[in-house]
Symmetry: C2
Subunit: 372 residues, 2 copies
């Protein structure tokens, strides 16, 4: 007899900026019996998760693991470990998450060199080059590969090459990028990267995969001051996630969430990274064709668009909030609101992970047609 | 047709220091479809979780919610928000988690007045009174109500009364205490408290319920310096968890983990707090009688023992690690190792949440009898 919980959650079609639809296999994995975080079975699963994450990130970095909290904690892990008081960090900011990076660095006592770009546009490499020219002592370049607030992707390879040229480390936010578009950590030379599980990895939210290069690890090891966060201190966390010398208890890992991530990463491996990227691209093209067919427009330039997150202008005379409420109530369809200068003026339609499928695109277009 | 994940996790009997056994109802809740963190259905669930946590903590504190990460992050939330550089904090330390508090405070730039007690003994109120006499300017008294490393409980009511007498705030760790023994936040006058979900609440690990008094909230609001952690900054997090002015996105909540916590809190409400406390006490007595019948001894004085975590001396001639491995391999039974001065010399047998039941006690005693 199946046991049911008292509170039943409705099934939605998740096409917002994340979380995205979670496959029943991943949900079933998440609901398996909890076992101990030091159980040999769980430790073996941790090893698998590390290997599968290395594949997803296309890296050989030994320091690759999921932080035990949502994406924001992955961001904080990167900045808390790599920034010391007085360190100069160039931030390429073109949306909400560039702004959050700045907030993080200030709280760590770092000096921020802010290079701002209009929301909805990509980071311009020339402006970053100029920032390095006037700040050759910058220790780090931080940028958002895939801006969740606008659906814009920036040239990560080019930004990393620039940082290398000036001898700076790179910190990259690819919360929305991982598994949806190419993320090539080793080829690009990214030193620290963080992502989330609830976007193109198609897991429940709650974990933040991160990866650090050997160079970044050396910088952490040679810090002058301790990391202000005990919970996120890499030198401690790695004694638990690194199996080399036997695992040491640091904090209790979110066991069931890691079951889910493991299963989702297995599914990614089964499909193949390239196939996953191609599927996101195909669904994006289908969605854009359909939306344009309905007379809608996308404010981001085609070459800057993230296939997995589509910014769509709200037509004149349509009330943003009541339109989204109608989609949710009548079609169980969640899409995202615009942020910043796009608040009330654009929607964000996600095609992330399992949500990047024909059925969802068809459902979305049908619902839009009915509600516009 | 039921969908099964590729990797099947074995069913264990969890009688270590946590995680504890999770009820199938809670696992089923955790595996329900993911929905958006801003979905009205989820927001309503968040309100319920806050109310149910207030019941569990026996508090009316408005600032009561689960931090989106394991217990260590709840600890860090308390210290990061309440301690500013130069603040003097008296720490009553009698085990691993008192030591972790000290580590937290130092990283925040606080001044620690360390009052140490032998591991396996309770905090002595006279020593804390002496510490206040020599440090009347101490801003905070921090203590561990239920020491997970030794199975010792301290007099929380008495410690809070002392702090009040000297005009200090209190920070209390009751990660292992909540739902297993009385935790009376308002009656005792605790200002900041943190717990975990994987102990007597019988959920998977991954969330840390916290509660702050109005006085503590005022201290946070009047800080001179920003909280170093953006992720754990109460003033920001509460814009999401506090429904009063409409919820604002801060970070993406771990949606499925909160389904599980909600279901477990409903089960606690159905049983009743007093009944839950009584069940832990009854199972403790049964376990102790059984262990003593096998010739085993418990080094903690009876009046200081936590019913939900039992420190048991390893008999001479028994190898700690191979004994625990045998329990796990032959009986699917997990118990905990000793820590600090008890490493290799004692075991920790948990009776937390769903694990505090006749079947588990019987299974444990049978396994011990067979393996000793």
């Amino acid at each position: 007899m199946a046991i049911t919980p008292k509170t039943i959650i409705p099934k939605r079609v998740l096409m917002g900026p994340g979380p995205s639809d979670v496959h029943p296999r991943v949900l079933a994995a998440t609901g398996q019996p909890t076992i101990g975080h030091l159980d040999p079975v769980f430790q073996s699963l941790m090893d698998d998760v590390k290997d599968l994450l290395k594949y997803a990130f296309q890296t050989q970095n030994a320091l690759t693991y999921p932080v035990s909290a949502p994406g924001s904690s992955g961001m904080e892990t990167c900045f808390a470990n790599l920034v010391e008081p007085g360190d100069k960090v160039i931030v390429a900011s073109n949306g909400v998450f560039g702004g959050r990076m700045i907030e993080n660095i200030k709280r760590m006592g770092g000096t921020v060199i802010e290079v701002n770009f209009e929301w909805g546009t990509a980071v311009d490499l020339n402006a970053i080059d100029d920032a390095f020219k006037t700040n050759p002592d910058a220790k780090i370049l931080a940028f958002v590969h895939a801006e969740t607030s606008t659906g814009v992707q920036s040239n990560a390879a080019g930004l990393c090459a620039l940082a290398t040229q000036y001898g700076a480390l790179t910190i990259m936010d690819t919360v929305t990028g991982l598994a949806g578009i190419p993320v090539l950590i080793d080829e690009w030379g990214v030193d620290a990267v963080y992502s989330g599980t609830q976007k193109c990895l198609a897991c429940p939210p709650g974990l933040s995969p991160v990866s650090f290069s050997a160079r970044a690890a050396d910088v952490v090891k040679s810090r002058k001051s301790p990391v202000t966060s005990w919970f996120l201190d890499l030198s401690l966390v790695m004694n638990y996630w690194d199996g080399a010398g036997g695992r040491t208890y640091h904090h209790t890992a979110p066991v069931n969430a890691i079951y889910g991530l493991h299963e989702a990463l297995l599914m990614l491996q089964e499909e193949g990274l390239e196939a996953s990227w191609a599927r996101h691209e195909t669904m994006h093209n289908k969605l854009v064709t359909g939306l344009e067919g309905l007379g809608l427009t996308l404010p981001v330039k085609p070459e800057d668009r993230l296939p997995q997150l589509n910014l769509v202008s709200t037509p004149d005379g349509v009330d943003d909030a009541s339109f989204r409420a109608k989609l949710l109530n009548d079609f169980d369809l969640e899409i995202g609101a615009g942020l910043g200068k796009f608040a009330g003026k654009a929607w964000r339609i996600g095609l992330m992970g399992q949500s990047a499928c024909d059925a969802n695109v068809d459902h979305c277009l049908k619902a839009f047609k009915a509600c516009l």
